[in-house]
Symmetry: C2
Subunit: 246 residues, 2 copies
């Protein structure tokens, strides 16, 4: 039987989703928890990697097991063992799925949230949960610039050097920027993303917000197909994998 | 000259607001920061204590100094030194006030927020920032029960044994309970509070929400003037000192 799990994690003390030799990852914690209650090594496949420090509200993964147990009990078992390990990871949902479901290959969309705290004073409570930008940002200019990124484009200018995607051409379905008090929130959706694509969008749009770039510079940067033209990579701590669509 | 500061802190790793011999406190971090840039020992007086683990979005304190510096620079100096100490504390505002201003005695009201995360799965991201209650709570019953607590009462039933207030009679101005998805949020305001009063309200109202008590039991508990009649003290991690009114 194949199961789909939805996972929340605080990425602050993780090297990311994927198992690493040199530190903790969400995948490793989940596989250890699964092994503890399924009593055999269990591979857990995620919908996609997240970088060190990036959070998840709705990462999705799947695994196979012969063992029969009620779904709610499986969730409780995961969370009980994650708690014992003091893992910053929680399983928020477990579903049975058909054997041809694949967390990564069946996904038809991914949604990310990026949070900027835009105020002069640093934050004690949202440290590690948002990017603190102390200079005032012009949200309407950032919104204007974001329009150039929507749709089907060659996103080479926003792609990390280490990106393993076959093609830099992607379709960006949504890039909404909203302001609520001191928080500026980006909601970004696409079928799939290049490595660092969301963080590079945010880093460049922040430079529009603070006046270092004009909104139409973003079109020039996109057309240049050159990573060196775009802005900085926004820090990992503001990024949340919000949901994976199937 | 007297200055008023507004302070945010993550109480998770603090013993509370007030200086303690056996561990870190918000007051101690602020006094160390002030000493570092004012170049002399500086006493910082808060509007009120908070317990270990309780957070603040808007604690207020005052201090005196002869040193003249622009207000924004004073805030930057506080935050620079707090960062060096890796203190989970930030100064979000500095104002000059008249010499008769007193953070505690001039206050005419205090507002607290309490957050419950009400879902079966634990939280990775809101751990230490909310009280995780895995059983479903009936918010409308909790709202009904809260009405009995509003106004002027003898709150002995909701007062910690260690409370040092002269009288258990207080006036509760506001106790609003709202639900937003999986979060239940309490907004509580009064001129002043007894020790553990908000956490004892929440602990008792939670027992109304989960069916252990009926809404009108809260009236009986209040009238009993007996701490043993009320419910548990809700954990510190869900409580935030939101603001102090002058």
């Amino acid at each position: 039987m194949r199961y789909k799990i939805t996972v929340e994690y605080d990425g602050t003390k993780l090297l990311g989703w994927q198992k690493q030799l040199d530190g903790p990852s969400a995948q490793e914690y989940l596989e250890k928890a699964a092994e503890a209650f399924l009593c055999r090594p269990t591979e857990i496949s995620g919908a996609g990697r997240t970088d060190a420090g990036v959070h998840a509200l709705g990462q999705v993964a799947h695994f196979d097991t012969e063992k029969k147990m009620p779904l709610f009990r499986m969730r409780e078992a995961f969370n009980a063992h994650l708690k014992i390990m003091e893992a910053p990871v929680a399983v928020i949902n477990v579903e049975e799925v058909s054997p041809d479901f694949h967390a990564r290959f069946s996904a038809v969309g991914r949604g990310y949230i990026y949070r900027i705290l835009n105020r002069r004073a640093p934050s004690a409570l949202d440290k590690d949960r948002s990017w603190w930008v102390p200079v005032p940002l012009d949200v309407s200019k950032m919104q204007e610039a974001a329009q150039y990124l929507l749709g089907n484009h060659d996103f080479t200018s926003f792609r990390a050097a280490a990106c393993q995607a076959k093609s830099p051409v992607k379709t960006l379905d949504k890039l909404e920027i909203s302001q609520n008090g001191e928080e500026i929130r980006f909601c970004v959706e696409a079928r799939s993303f290049l490595h660092h694509q969301v963080r590079n969008f945010v880093g460049t749009l922040k430079m529009v917000g603070d006046g270092h770039l004009q909104p139409n510079d973003v079109k020039r940067i996109l057309d240049a197909k050159d990573r060196s033209q775009a802005g900085i990579t926004a820090p990992a701590c503001g990024l949340y994998l919000n949901r994976v669509m199937y």
